[in-house]
């Protein structure tokens, strides 16, 4: 079932949370709402579910306006952030709840529950209470419960947030496989870029109540539509500079742009370089600037170098592969030269709203 959100506005006590959000999710797609805390992603999810009402705008499920329909009538599966399992019911009773309140025949309920428990691999635990389950098991119960009535939309609020790293990894893959099996239109909220990229077909980046960019993980990472997206996705070195035509300038350094930024006149701009797109040299090369190595941090496959570049606003980060790092044999205190392989430039705007700075991230 496709989901269309059109110009949705929402404010809590005069604080705007969603500012004209529009979004289209085609049938059968798995989409991540990604953004920092306070960007409105959970509120948007709750509006799609019918747990909040929008102040303006409309929500359509399968082309039909459901704005006036209550959450009860929308038949949407929801997995809550802390699962919200009924604590006084067993796993089996939890999963059966939606069918029992619909007064389905006993045999039909039993068969469906058994099928769902098999799907989430919890057949052996049907008599347990939620307190007796691990985080990963609870999550799977929540999922089975949400799928009981075969909803054609599944909404998940930070589904992996409360789990430890290893379980999270497993569940992500499992959720992806499950989606490929069921093809239910799914939307999940996350603040974790890795999670969004690994699980979702498409990523919706949200910031300060607006949608900043919608695209496949590769699209939003390689072609970020705004300074916010650039900064939110992965580590990045940010410089304040100027842009004019197809050249950017930072502290006297003249950088060529791959794609010309849209500035006919000289304008203030944010200049971004990702750590892995920054080359480290022992000797100066054209278009390089001087820096001092502060720390060398081996991260397994890569090595992160923290440097200070006084002419460039202080701290800079570079990431090298292990071989390159070994060849350079860097040590704290070494004087080196950095040259960006690729820069991305976004003109500064006066009215920049940013959940990242607002939430102190």
């Amino acid at each position: 079932m496709s989901i269309v959100v059109r110009e949705v506005e929402k404010a809590f006590d005069a604080t705007p949370v969603l500012r004209g959000v529009s979004l289209e999710i085609p049938d059968g797609e798995l989409v991540a709402l990604l953004g920092p805390s306070g960007c409105g992603k959970t509120t948007l999810l709750r509006i799609i579910a019918g747990l909040e009402s929008a102040d303006a705008g409309e929500v359509r499920h399968d082309g039909e306006d459901v704005s006036a329909r209550s959450a009860r009538e929308r038949n949407v599966g929801v997995v809550f952030q802390h699962y919200a399992l009924f604590r006084h019911m067993t796993v089996e009773e939890n999963v059966a709840f939606a069918l029992r309140v619909r007064r389905r025949p006993r045999a039909q309920v039993a068969a469906r529950v058994a099928e769902l428990l098999r799907l989430v691999q919890l057949e052996g635990l049907k008599g347990r209470y939620p307190q007796q389950l691990s985080g990963g098991q609870r999550q799977r119960v929540a999922l089975a419960r949400a799928l009981a009535t075969e909803p054609r939309i599944l909404l998940l609020d930070e589904p992996f947030g409360a789990l430890d790293a290893r379980v999270r990894q497993e569940l992500r893959r499992w959720l992806r496989r499950l989606h490929d099996e069921l093809h239910v239109t799914s939307v999940f909220v996350t603040h974790d870029q890795e999670e969004a990229f690994e699980v979702a077909d498409r990523v919706v980046l949200m910031n300060a109540g607006r949608v900043e960019q919608v695209g496949t993980p590769a699209q939003v990472f390689e072609e970020p539509a705004s300074a916010f997206v650039m900064r939110f996705l992965g580590a990045v070195n940010a410089f304040k500079g100027w842009v004019e035509g197809d050249r950017a300038f930072v502290s006297g350094l003249d950088l060529e742009l791959v794609a010309p930024a849209s500035a006919a006149h000289r304008a203030r701009a944010h200049v971004f370089v990702r750590p892995h797109e920054l080359d480290v040299h022992r000797a100066p090369v054209p278009g390089s600037f001087a820096a001092n190595v502060d720390r060398v941090l081996p991260l397994g496959a890569a090595v992160r170098i923290e440097l200070s570049a006084p002419g460039f606003g202080g701290m800079v980060e570079a990431e090298l592969d292990v071989r390159r790092s070994e060849a350079l044999a860097l040590a704290p205190g070494d004087a080196v030269h950095l040259s960006p392989r690729r820069v991305r430039v976004f003109p500064s705007r006066e009215d920049e709203l940013d959940s990242l700075t607002a939430s102190g991230l």
Partner: protein, 323 residues
């Protein structure tokens, strides 16, 4: 109390490591300056312990206080009640006036407690599940009967429903007598005891959050189904706890009831009022015998309360297993 005994055990890892074993056979003194004879050893105080003096003093004060202000008076009540023997005690209880008082007290509690359970649930539900203006005012108002002297509550009832009150004459004209009759006693009791259930439920429901109810809604449950299948089962122990406290107060209330009752023997005397009347007439033995009923009520309340607290304990997590 036996912290010393426990701390001295060999199982205590904090002590087992640094302290040389007292029973160990004498070893050759290690070379070097460390070979000074050890001073006679007392168990060193753990960093997390207060000095023994402080611990004992606090325990002693607490015990003395409980003894002087709770145990001794309670024992006196029982002793006085049974002074003339069980037969006399029983005779005092089956006295028609005493029986009437017991019946009235049970009747009042049977009306006031369910009403306040219902009201408490509604108040807690509205306070924790909805956002609206004036919510904090409602929460404060719920506490009002706790802050006001029961006598004032009784006076308010008289002022409203008395023969010269605002509603009294109209009600009297329609044949309803409130003050100096059972309805007045019920009203005063309801007023005095209404915070108990609400006070118990509000923090509990607040801590539980609305997630389970939202989940039930999304899963297609109606409002009634959410209440009976999710909310009530979740709050039942808190509700029961509040009901027990509410009941204890409803049966024991004196001040407010005293103002509105009129003290008509066999008609408008509750158990606490009956005790006072008997005491005032120097019928000490009978007074204490009836009072022992209230003491029994306190014991039952205490046991029920303990039972519920025990039931409330977090379940052991031993059954937990890896995902």
């Amino acid at each position: 109390m036996d912290a010393d005994a426990r701390g001295g055990g060999v199982t205590s890892p904090a002590l087992a490591v640094p302290a040389p074993d007292r029973e160990a056979p004498p070893r050759p003194a290690p070379p070097g300056p460390a070979a000074v004879p050890a001073p006679p050893r007392r168990r060193p105080r753990r960093a997390t312990e207060d000095p023994a003096l402080v611990r004992w003093a606090l325990v002693a004060i607490a015990l003395l206080f409980v003894g002087a202000f709770v145990l001794v008076p309670a024992a006196t009540v029982v002793a006085e009640a049974l002074r003339g023997g069980v037969a006399l005690w029983w005779k005092a209880l089956v006295d028609p006036d005493a029986l009437a008082a017991v019946k009235l007290t049970l009747l009042v509690a049977a009306i006031a407690v369910p009403l306040n359970a219902l009201f408490g649930l509604a108040a807690a539900w509205s306070v924790t599940r909805f956002r609206y203006a004036g919510k904090s005012v409602l929460v404060s108002l719920v506490d009002l009967p706790f802050g006001v002297s029961p006598v004032v509550s009784g006076m308010a009832t008289v002022l409203l429903f008395g023969a010269h009150g605002w509603l009294g004459p109209w009600l009297l004209a329609h044949g309803v007598k409130v003050v100096f009759a059972v309805p007045g006693i019920v009203l005063a009791t309801v007023f005095v005891t209404f915070p108990f259930v609400a006070r118990e439920l509000i923090p509990f429901m607040e801590a539980q959050g609305v997630e389970e109810e939202e989940a039930a809604l999304v899963l297609g449950a109606s409002g009634w189904q959410i209440l009976t299948r999710v909310t009530l089962p979740n709050v039942k122990w808190s509700l029961l706890y509040g009901v027990i406290l509410c009941n204890a107060r409803a049966m024991g209330e004196f001040g407010a009831v005293s103002v509105v009752s009129g003290h008509i023997r066999g008609l408008t005397n509750t158990v606490p009022l009956q005790v006072e009347i008997l005491y005032g007439e120097y019928a000490f033995q009978a007074a204490f015998a009836v009072a022992s009923l209230l003491f029994l009520l306190a014991l039952v309340t205490l046991v029920a309360k303990k039972g519920l607290e025990w039931h409330h304990r977090p379940r052991p997590s031993a059954l937990r297993s890896a995902p």
